[in-house]
Assembly symmetry: C2
Homo-oligomer: 201 residues x 2
DNA sequence: TATTATAGCGAACGAACGGTCACTTGTCAA
DNA sequence: TTGACAAGTGACCGTTCGTTCGCTATAATA
């Protein structure tokens, strides 16, 4: 039950830090949201900062196991349409999963204050997606599905606009539907421009 | 001199809010950084929140006069190379101008807490640049410099990656040189893909 | 059963917060 | 020369912050 409480505190911390920031979050409310009184928090963490560090540890570990290993790489699509579908599944997940949303918001808010948050933000918002799609596009070029070009540059050109739309969903959740539609429109625009057509799917 | 002090307080507020956030900034330090004692601040503003609101007012006004009016639109380039040059001038300014950097950082940090910051963030990070380049690309398509396509979609495909690199500069200023180089590389990649070549510049 | 560690609690701590107020100083108009 | 006002000061206010401490209840261990 101790382990359980500790986990629940971290979950609440992600909630509040991602909404109000580290400085804007107070332990009293945080404890209350897991049904504790503030002093009880200190049975599980030595300080507010330790909660922050533990949360970042968890986020870094989660990112590592989810995007760091090659086994979680999506398979190289066999058609341009499949690329669109795969992209949209990815977008759909990433703009609807609460934990992922809160993680992004927290990194957005705290990236200028904490160096580990800064580094993780760059991975989350830029290099992570780009590297993943660099491999995918490299494979698709080999298959003759995409025009031969620098796969890293093409991946950057593909993922950055999608990233921008994901950020828009975080900022203005009521526009999520709109943003998803635009992501799909962009994906279809992309395959029109970069894809090799007349291909037998 | 009163007007002067008020302005200096706002400048200091932009400094501190953009670095530590609204909640992480205290009036004592803010006042000290303009050579005042905290109580003197209240001769110019009624409260911390009023400072925040005045700062946002200023940012909104500045954005309006700088990007809102059509007179500040850059002219439609006469060649693809000119598009690259114009883009790089814009990038260079936007990643080096201190006030603009701090404005972006502040909007990044506070976009989830304040509705006006939220709206302004979307303009700054997404729609503003896109709309500007929609007009430019529309003109370039008319001139036969770019392949005919939906100018808004092409503008989005062009500006989103550049925006991502600008954010990278804000987050990791030591990578600014690298990011600028990548912006230019991307811009050249873009004109290679979307441009009409064999054109007499 | 007696012992001990754990996890909760309420009260209290000093420090820092945003904000107020009476007071002084300097400036400028009447 | 005087009066009014704007701008700055330091002392102080109540509140909230993160943190500590002594206590209790529970549950596992010996």
């Amino acid at each position: 039950m101790a382990k359980d409480t500790k986990e629940r505190i971290l979950t609440a911390a992600l909630d509040m830090f991602s909404q109000n920031g580290y400085a804007g979050t107070n332990i009293r409310e945080l404890a209350a949201s897991v049904g504790l009184v503030k002093s009880s928090t200190y049975k599980h963490f030595e300080s507010k900062e330790e909660i922050w560090n533990a949360l970042l540890d968890e986020m870094i570990a989660y990112y590592g196991e989810r995007f760091g290993s090659t086994e979680h790489l999506p398979p190289v699509p066999d058609s341009l349409e499949e690329l669109v579908q795969m992209t949209m599944r990815l977008v759909d997940f990433t703009v609807h999963d609460e934990k992922v949303i809160k993680t992004r918001k927290l990194l957005t808010i705290e990236q200028f204050r904490d160096d580990r948050a800064r580094a993780l933000a760059t991975k989350h918002f830029l290099t992570g997606l780009t590297e993943m799609f660099t491999r995918i596009f490299s494979g698709m070029m080999d298959k003759g599905l995409l025009r031969r070009d620098d796969p890293a540059m093409v991946a950057f050109a593909y993922t950055a606009p999608i990233s921008a739309l994901i950020h828009l969903c975080d900022r203005e959740p009521e526009k999520t539907g709109e943003a998803i539609a635009q992501a799909e429109a962009f994906s279809r625009h992309f395959i029109k421009v970069y894809g090799v057509h007349g291909h037998v799917g």
